[in-house]
Subunit: 311 residues, 2 copies
């Protein structure tokens, strides 16, 4: 488990490295009570993952776990890979990213542009993950998990601390859940202050299934948000935090995600990736219905997407 | 001429009707000194024009100039048309928008979705404008200019007052110039506090040519930003304010606009229309070079654009 103190340390550690992202108000009357949206997709590398990546690398540099001559290894053809490549480049640390051969060419080009070495292994994420772990063990490089390491979760949790500064009183924070790093960090940061609800596609229900099974279990993953919320199972840290802090789970359909993403463009000129639209989708589809006067915050956590279907 | 008092009245008048848009910091080291970006494209109707539209209609309702049974008339197939249709619908006032037959089908559909009546006249903006003026005179409807009326300029100027609250000390504000309503409003609001620089495409140099000629003159208009900065001549109010407050003019090329718009997407996941990229283009292309420690604010004023070329 991680603690709020871990997140406060993370905030100090990554200050000046990450962007503090703004919060905007939702137009009055849109929902039952006041609501806010945190524009975390404006973060470096296009998603919240930069927070955990910087925290993991900086903490490991400070305590000697990371040899800056050897560098880091990550496995992800998506947001985590982009964030690790960005953070490593900023900190002058060599970085290798393992991806399956099916990873998006656009994202691979972006990862490569940061100077990371890319190794393509297998056709599934699990193949790339296994190869990354072996490489880290063999080379002595620092393995950076996409979501299930304390420093990664603590980095994501700094979003919760920022919300306490930015929003004057709120009851509930809705976040998207894939592996659960964002949810776990924010729920730990806000324990005793606000509740956290995890929103996930019916096509990738890692939190829902973990809560039902009494622990993380593999789920089948598909759908429009699979590129960002496509983790096959919830992280162990995420499960423990969800149970300890009472995080609820809400499911949305692919149609809900598409509609919420389009609404953000049509009425706000905001572009997000499909997975990042999940918390707003829960509100718009009424999969989550706030009680009267419930003060709700939605975190929009990523925009590594192709906007061409929004015309 | 308008005064700062006009803008303060506008702020009170439109409060609760318009969105207060956030300001974000530019990453340290990007320019010579600190810099900020105001995300005004998050405004209702996708551009700053909603501010002037609400102010014009609300002021005319208050003083009896607008008969709510007769309504308003505007001429614009672009941002001003969208904003007027939005504001009129919100205020329950009938609205007619004159557009040339060449106006974008996407924008017309958006205007129509607000419930406005659209009348297509001629192949050039000037034809639609002339028809709108005649219709307003014949019907007694309130004519709402796209940029050259005091209430329109004062509404846009509320952006300047917001900046005084949002940014703790700045020297220069860079804004895009088409007809000059935004520039004139912000320059009036900030007179004595900060200087304003107007940035315009070399393909639509209304401010540059007006300053050279000693008054607004018709210019040839073309280029990638013509849909938003395509006014053929600077407004009279804008010219008077520019001279009185010492607004400078900077020109950027279409290539500069394209590069700045792409940079915003690649490094910030922000989508703006080509014209709205003008102030950032001036900085990135070094058409405008801040002196050391000059504190600069960039206003991103609209995002009524097709994002599909940003893939």
């Amino acid at each position: 488990m991680i603690t709020r103190a871990d997140i406060e340390q993370a905030r100090t550690r990554i200050e000046g490295r990450i962007r503090r992202t703004p919060v905007i108000g939702v137009d009055p009357g849109t929902f039952a009570g006041p609501a806010w949206v945190k524009l975390e997709f404006l973060q470096h590398s296009g998603s919240f993952k930069a927070r955990g990546a910087f925290n993991r690398i900086l903490a490991a540099l400070a305590d000697g776990e990371l040899d800056p001559a050897v560098g880091t290894v990550a496995a992800s053809g998506g947001n985590a890979g982009l964030a690790h490549a960005f953070a490593a480049a900023e900190l002058g640390v060599p970085c290798t990213v393992f991806v399956p051969t099916t990873a998006s060419a656009v994202k691979l080009a972006r990862i490569e542009r940061q100077g990371a070495r890319i190794i393509q292994v297998g056709t599934e994420y699990a193949d790339a993950y296994d190869a990354a772990v072996v490489q880290a063990e063999d080379s002595g490089a620092l393995f950076c998990h996409a979501y299930d390491q304390p420093a990664i979760v603590a980095g994501a949790g700094t979003i919760g601390l920022e919300l306490l500064d930015e929003v004057d009183g709120f009851d509930t924070v809705l976040v998207a859940v894939g592996g659960g790093g964002l949810m776990a960090g924010v729920a730990t940061a806000l324990a005793g202050h606000a509740r956290v609800v995890g929103v996930e596609p019916v096509t990738a229900p890692t939190l829902t299934e973990a809560l039902a099974a009494g622990g993380p279990v593999d789920v089948a993953v598909s759908g429009v948000a699979a590129d960002s919320l496509g983790a096959r199972r919830l992280g162990e840290i995420a499960y423990d935090v969800a149970v300890a802090t009472g995080v609820g789970s809400v499911l949305v359909t692919d149609e809900d995600l598409l509609a919420a993403r389009r609404t953000l463009w049509d009425y706000r000129r905001i572009v997000v990736e499909h997975g990042a639209a999940a918390p707003l989708a829960a509100l718009l589809s009424e999969a989550y219905v706030p009680v009267p006067d419930e003060r709700v915050v939605v975190v929009l956590c990523g925009a590594n997407t192709d906007p061409s279907d929004l015309v």
